[in-house]
């Protein structure tokens, strides 16, 4: 009934319209004018690929002929109006010969011999520079310098496969949440070699970010359009390995568990094993921005998630900006990390679980949404020698006055040389600190310096047992512990001036 009436009304509208059009034709046919040609707007083309260009023509004197001429390539007319037609289109097939600019000009002549021409302009490149990825990486794949890769889903580098990402490449995740979230997931026995450089880091960001490989190549690593506090636009980077974990269901037939943020229905999300020196590849100079999509309550994707990653893996010079969940989270494993910066993330900055046994050396944490350090220990019966966090500088402000260090009775961490500044009123160390300090394994937090807000004392922020380890300093400049800030010269935080604003 509805379809019929739609058809009817469409038909009658068409009839009325055609009446008007034919009237129009009648009125103009008495006074012939020169033909008019309009060119399509500028286009992109690849060298060697044929591109179809459609020119619209109006030939009141009746179409007679058309010719096409090309710059930097060849052009042939593939279709044109029939002889005597008063309007129509000329389609030209263009094939470029080299990168740069190209153009196609067509000339249309009517039966009276009058003619007009128009030129279409093209940008010719050697090859495609934006590639959308929807399939898992199952072999040897390289993502190249100068190109942008769009993650169309949760892309896994599956066991046995290797993904190499060259410095200067930009990886962007499409928007979505839940089952729709995008991420790069390196499964156990998969390898990620993402080695950026000081001058050409690898940027992981959202499709909403207008940053380009050209911009990165020019040395500008800042986002041209997104603020450094916009989060949750895509997932994040997840690396999983075979190193030991202390998970709650180990000891049965499995010593593997499913990583947070990946539904159990995807077996690429399993991690854990017995190979302490396992290698998942090498990750250097990468900046991960605007991620942290929600999967379910308490089940988000961290900026960089490391599950059971072995110490054969290299992780150096990492920047995480505006991740909705934690910045970096270690679930067991033995991997070490050097020069790690986390800026404006929504939850904890560093989160450790399941008896991770590596070391983070040189770390800068700025304005986390929750605890800068959320540190846990074994969840199963496996225990390790514990992990180490040393040489860290923490700017606390903005975290809603949550705990600066969150430890509990089974936290297996040694922390040393930590500098805190920008404290909130009410900032504390976990109330479980005495339980932690009472551990029999010798784990301890030592050598803390703090820049106190005016009118406050060390005891306002630190528990009694920790006070002997805390030294108040007048300013960041006077501190003798903390991170070597020069390691973060390449980061967006530094380039944007945010670190200068903090006096770093």
């Amino acid at each position: 009934m509805n379809i019929k009436s739609i058809l009817k009304s469409t038909l009658s509208l068409l009839l009325v319209a055609s009446l008007f059009i034919s009237c129009d034709d009648d009125s103009t046919s008495s006074t012939p004018m020169e033909p008019s040609v309009s060119a399509p707007s500028s286009q992109n083309a690849l060298v060697g690929d044929a591109v179809e260009l459609t020119f619209n023509v109006t030939v009141s004197g009746g179409f007679a002929s058309a010719t096409a001429a090309a710059e930097n390539g060849s052009a042939t007319i593939s279709s044109q109006p029939s002889s005597g037609a008063t309007s129509g289109s000329v389609v030209v097939s263009y094939s470029a010969s080299s990168a740069g600019a190209g153009s196609v000009t067509i000339t249309v002549t009517d039966s009276e011999g009058l003619s007009d021409n128009a030129t279409a302009v093209l940008t010719i490149s050697e090859e495609e520079t934006t590639i959308r990825v929807v399939d898992n990486i199952t072999g040897e794949t390289t993502w190249e310098t100068g190109k942008t890769y769009i993650l169309g889903g949760r892309i896994a580098v599956i066991a046995g496969a290797t993904l190499t990402i060259e410095g200067g490449a930009v990886v962007k995740g499409e928007a979505g949440t839940g089952a729709n979230a995008t991420a790069l997931l390196v499964a156990r026995d998969g390898t990620l070699n993402a080695n950026g450089t000081l001058d050409a880091p690898i940027i992981f960001t959202s499709v909403a970010d207008e940053i380009t490989p050209e911009q990165v190549a020019s040395g500008d690593f800042t986002s041209p359009n997104l603020d450094p506090d916009v989060n949750g636009l895509w997932g994040g980077v997840i690396v999983l390995g075979n190193a030991p974990i202390s998970a709650s269901n180990e000891g049965g037939d499995v010593n593997e568990v499913q990583i947070e943020g990946i539904p159990t229905s995807d077996s690429n999300g399993l991690y854990g094993g017995s190979d302490e020196s396992d290698s998942s590849g090498s990750i250097t100079y990468i900046s991960i921005r605007h991620g942290g999509s929600n999967i379910g309550e308490g089940n988000e994707i961290n900026g960089l998630t490391l599950g059971g990653v072995g110490n054969g893996t290299v992780i150096e010079n990492i920047e995480i900006v505006a991740n909705q969940d934690d910045g970096v989270e270690f679930f067991g494993g033995s991997v070490n990390a050097t020069n790690v910066m986390v800026w404006n993330n929504g939850d904890d900055a560093v989160d450790t679980d399941q008896a991770w046994s590596g070391t983070i050396d040189n770390m800068l944490l700025v304005s986390p949404g929750d605890s800068p350090f959320e540190l846990d220990g074994p969840e199963g019966s496996f225990t390790s020698s514990g992990h180490t966090i040393t040489n860290a500088t923490v700017y606390v402000a903005g975290n809603g006055a949550e705990e600066m260090i969150d430890v509990d009775d089974n936290t297996d961490v040694n922390m040393s040389n930590i500098l805190f500044f920008g404290l909130n009123e009410g900032s504390i160390i976990s109330s479980d600190y005495p339980d932690y300090a009472a551990n029999t394994n010798g784990f301890s937090i030592t050598n803390i310096e703090v820049v106190l807000p005016a009118g406050t004392a060390v005891a306002d922020f630190f528990p009694e047992g920790l006070i002997p380890e805390v030294t108040a300093v007048g300013s960041v400049g006077e501190a003798t512990v903390g991170a070597d800030i020069t390691a973060f010269a390449w980061t967006w935080a530094r380039q944007s001036g945010a670190l200068d604003d903090l006096g770093l």
Binding site: V134, D135, N136, G152, G153, R154, I155, A175, G176, T177, G178, A179, N180, A181, T182, D227, D229, V230, N231, G232, L233, A247, S248, N249, E250, G251, G252, D253, V254, E256, V257, Q258, E260, P263, T264, S265, D266, S267, L270, G292, N294, G296, E297, G298, N299, E300, D325, D348, D353, Q354, G369, D370, E379, G380, G400, A401, E402, D406, D408, D409
Partner: protein, 972 residues
């Protein structure tokens, strides 16, 4: 809905003239209105109606003969008459003193004729003796080929039960869960089935197998039968029991009843803390008028967001499509109430043709309110000497719920001398609006948990409807004793949860303002769930009575066809900020304000729905069945029933997992592919040895099946927004589970001794054994420690061995004073054992505590180890009073299978004591009053975690409180 109202109206109008005509029919003689005697005549031995029996009115010329339903009616002037009932080879029966009053129907239900041994044998009884016996159902039960029990209109009319759930609790061996779901022998919902007029009806609850039966008023019900051992003409997919409700076709007497009730629960009603929210203005009718509809464009996989490329105005326009209400407010709730009207009649339209109709409408509004509802997620500890369970998340808070049920049923029936036609239509409309506020405490000490506290608000609306039509024909070939019965029945059902809103403020440890933290309490989210199901059922049953080995026997054969199709979809949206959240105070009404919505503020919604959507599926079932059975006596007193049923069951699924949905072709995708395809043969054998007139020994064997549901055989991942628990479809291969979810095949053996005596007394002892191949259980997903995920899986084989003791005893033997009291009860004790899968065994072994000894077998999930039902009743029809106490208790039942990190969850015993009283008032009992008190012991509903040497911890807990309800029914 509008159309349904219209249809109802048309039906009512259509019937009005008939009613007038029906009255005219009886007022055709001059001075005094005549009356009507109406009765039915049954074979005492078989309980079957007898055709062609002559009924003479002594000393008059009046008389009639019974039709193929054994029914007759005779119109007579007012007065007192004797009836003489004769039939060849049966004893002649004389019924004395049958009163006929002007314009009324005198009913003689269940007149039993017995076989005569001598010629001219005569029995004399009074009319009142006929009407107080319960022999019909008892005889049916005693003479049935299989184990069955039931209750007929005759019984519940007498005691005034108002709805089917009320009435069925009088049947031994049956318990009622939540006042509406039937459980038989303590077997869970998976193994129980509910049918209407022998046709499958989908449940209003998507997670339940069986239909809630409290929606049927008793005056529409002819009988309810519970089948406990299989027969070939019933579907094979039950194990505990099938409850079949047959609606009336030809009401014995005209009725026009109006009823109303109120229910009061001091713990729930008139509470000023009842949570509610602005719903649609048709919520009171049980449906949403569109206020909760998905905003335009939200169904697309790309929705306007600050980063979608749409202009800020477009994004704002789109966001304005979402309802701005995200939290509840407190108000004072009224108490429960309901009203109902039902009418029906039958009348003659020609000499041997009659028409019957029934019509009913009910409306019910109920409120539940729990001040302290609790949920918990608990875990075991790794250290073998740490016995205590530790919590990952605890939630406690308020749950308020308003439930509206509106329903209508209309039936029209037409009977000729050889055929009967019956058309019924039913619509049920149910809307449930709930609002909750929970305090969430997540422990950082538990594995995988980050530790936070949050204040959460949920707004949920569930709209369900079922529309069913049935056309049935019965044809009786009196000369050859063939009977053909056919039914076709389409059912349309919808279950929609539009705009579930979940908002949780993460609280600050240091007393700062609450905010949204994705990694803690999460961002606000909204969910739309939509399910539609069509169900076409048809069946043809043919039976013939004949003589075999000089005894009556019955041959039956037939076919059954069922086609079901379900479409399901879940759409989710997460609130995000583009930059930072506005400053909040913790009041959910402050969030979705104009100034906060992009681009005025930072708030926008992000889609969680890829295209294709992994949470969208279509499933179909085609079940073609055929059966043949014969019932005969190889020797006198031994009845043998042999049946064989074949079912060809094909279930198809169209769906995909998240991986495929995101574009990876290596993901799983099913396009109308078979997920179940089996031809099964289900033999059933029932032997009944009639030890004496009132004693039977029975043996039965049958094979039955339990099949996974549509939801279980899917790639769906369904988040329960209130408890935050995730259901995974069984098709996902997770860890050791290969994703091949299959049917459970069950062998059933029953052995029973039973003795019947007068006034419905009985005693029986049964032993039963059931073996389960590949039973399905809901299993905790071990690989996932961060969230609570569950999946249906086939586990190791199981066995159930049980004993059942059942009795109904009148207490007159103690003292004549107690002659109107009766005591009934049943006790079922069940030993169940299931083989653990290797994965489960190893997971349990990994957390074996010092002193604990873990076996590789355990109790079967869902099977209560014992079940007690008891009732003490006073019944005195002379004064129209029926009152009783009813008690039900199920033993501690394993509900969710744990292992490893996760302890097992058990349903704690609930001591359910209930009082019910019905009293009819007035000369003819036009008014009846019902008073009931539920949960007299004020027990708590509790599901608990249990661990070795550990204190029990709460999985869920709520206190239903005591409720009193008072109903009144007036018959015009």
């Amino acid at each position: 809905m509008k159309t349904i109202l219209k249809i109802t109206l048309i039906l009512i109008l259509a019937f009005v003239p008939f009613r007038i005509f029906a009255q005219d029919d009886m007022s055709n003689t001059a001075d005094e209105e005549p009356g009507l005697i109406r009765g039915s005549i049954l074979d005492e031995e078989s309980g079957e109606p007898i055709f062609g029996v002559s009924v003479f009115v002594q000393n008059t010329s009046g008389g009639a003969s019974t039709d193929f339903d054994g029914k007759f009616d005779i119109e007579l002037p007012a007065g007192t008459y004797d009836l003489r009932i004769t039939y060849v080879s049966y004893r002649t029966l004389i019924i004395e003193s049958v009163e006929v009053t002007p314009g009324e129907v005198t009913i003689l239900s269940s007149i039993m004729l017995s076989k005569s041994v001598e010629e001219m044998d005569e029995v004399v009884v009074t009319a009142s003796a006929i009407n107080t016996s319960e022999v019909a159902m008892m005889s049916k039960k005693m003479k049935a080929a299989n184990l069955m029990d039931g209750i007929s209109a005759q019984q519940f009319d007498r005691v005034g039960d108002s709805d089917a759930a009320d009435a069925i609790k009088r049947v031994t061996g049956v318990s009622i869960e939540d006042g509406k779901y039937v459980f038989v022998r303590g077997l869970g919902d998976r193994y129980t089935k509910t049918m209407l007029n022998s046709i499958d009806i989908p449940s209003l609850d998507p997670d339940k197998n069986s239909l809630q039966i409290d929606i049927f008023p008793t005056n529409l019900i002819d009988n309810m039968v519970i089948t406990k051992s299989a027969v070939a003409d019933m579907p094979a997919d039950f194990t505990g029991g099938i409850v079949n409700i047959e609606t009336k076709a030809f009401p014995e007497e005209p009725f026009f009843d109006v009823s109303a009730s109120i229910g009061y629960n001091p713990d729930m009603h008139f509470s000023s803390e009842f949570l509610t929210y602005e719903g649609s203005n048709t919520d009171f009718l049980g449906f949403d008028n569109g206020k909760r509809d998905l905003p335009t464009g939200a169904e697309n996989d790309r929705i306007p967001t600050p980063i979608s490329g749409d202009s800020p105005d477009q994004v704002n326009d789109f966001l304005q499509g979402f309802d701005s209400t995200l939290g509840p407010y407190a108000t004072t709730n009224p108490m429960d109430y309901s009203i109902g009207v039902s009418l029906g009649n039958q009348f003659r339209v020609a000499t041997d043709k009659r028409l019957g109709y029934i019509l009913s409408a009910t409306y019910r509004n109920s409120y539940t309110h729990y001040n302290d509802y609790q949920f918990g997620e608990y875990q075991t500890q790794p250290n073998p000497t740490d016995y205590d369970l530790v919590y990952a998340t605890r939630q406690s808070g308020t749950v308020s719920d308003r439930n509206v049920l509106a329903g209508g049923l209309a039936g029209i029936a037409y009977k000729t001398s050889r055929s009967k036609y019956n058309l019924t239509g039913m619509h049920l409309q149910n809307g449930e609006s709930s609002a909750t506020n929970f305090f969430i405490d997540n422990s950082e000490n538990a594995p995988g948990q980050s530790g936070y506290t949050a204040d959460s608000y949920n707004l949920v609306y569930g709209e369900r409807s079922v529309t069913n039509f049935m056309l049935r024909g019965t044809h009786y070939f009196t000369s050859s004793n063939w009977e053909i019965d056919w039914r076709v029945s389409p059912t349309y059902s919808t279950m929609v949860d539009p705009d579930i809103r979940k908002t949780a403020y993460t609280l600050s440890v240091s007393g700062q303002a609450p905010r949204f933290v994705a990694g803690a309490g999460g961002n606000p989210s909204r969910i739309w769930r939509d399910m539609e199901e069509v169900n076409y059922a048809g069946r043809l049953d043919v039976s013939k009575e004949f003589q075999m080995l000089n005894n009556p026997s019955t041959l039956k054969f037939g076919a059954n066809y069922v086609y079901k199709e379900r479409d399901y979809e879940i759409l989710t949206f997460d609130m995000q900020n583009f930059g930072s959240w506005p400053d909040f105070t913790g009041d959910p009404s402050e969030i979705f304000r104009d100034e906060n919505i992009y681009p005025n503020g930072t708030i926008y919604y992000q889609s969680g729905n890829p295209d294709p959507n992994p949470n969208k599926y279509n499933s179909t079932v085609e079940n073609i069945a055929a059966y043949v059975s014969n019932e005969f006596y190889p020797i006198t007193n031994l009845k043998v029933y042999l049946g064989l049923r074949a079912e060809n069951y094909v279930q198809r699924h169209t769906g995909r997992d998240a991986l495929f949905a995101q574009g990876d072709v290596s993901g799983n995708n099913l396009d109308n592919e078979k997920v179940l395809d089996a031809l099964d043969f289900f033999p059933s054998t029932n032997l009944t040895y009639n030890v004496s007139d009132n004693q039977n020994i029975r043996f039965s064997y049958s094979k039955t099946i339990a099949r996974p549901s549509f939801k279980e055989l899917s790639f769906a991942q369904i988040l329960d927004p209130i408890s935050d628990r995730i259901f995974n479809g069984g098709l996902f291969a997770i860890g050791e589970w290969d994703g091949n979810l299959t049917e459970t095949r069950i062998n059933n053996i029953d052995f029973r001794w039973e003795r019947f005596s007068t006034r419905g007394q009985l005693m029986s002892v049964s032993l039963f054994y059931k073996s389960f191949d590949d039973p399905i259980e809901i299993v905790r997903v071990q690989a996932q420690a961060t969230s609570s995920e569950f999946q249906p899986r086939n586990v190791g084989n199981g066995e159930v061995f049980g004993a059942e003791f059942e009795f109904r005893k009148a207490l007159g033997f103690i003292s004549p004073l107690l002659r109107d009291f009766s005591f009934n009860g049943n006790l079922t004790i069940v030993e169940s054992e299931i083989d653990m899968t290797n994965q489960e065994y190893l997971a349990r072994k990994s957390r074996e505590k010092v002193g604990e000894n873990i076996n590789d077998t355990r109790q079967m999930a869902g099977q209560a180890p014992f079940m007690v039902n008891a009732g003490l009743q006073y019944t005195n029809p002379a004064i129209g009073l029926d009152a009783g106490f009813f008690y039900n208790l199920n033993g501690e039942t394993l509900a969710i299978v744990g292992g490893g990190l996760f302890p097992d969850v058990y349903v704690s015993p609930f001591h359910n004591l209930r009082f019910n009283m019905n009293k009819s008032l007035g000369d003819e009992g036009q008014t009846s009053i019902n008073l009931s008190v539920s949960n007299i012991l004020n027990d708590t509903r509790e599901e608990i975690y249990q661990g070795f040497r550990a204190d029990d911890e709460i999985f869920s807990l709520f206190t239903p409180g005591r409720a009193v309800s008072l109903g009144i029914k007036y018959a015009f």
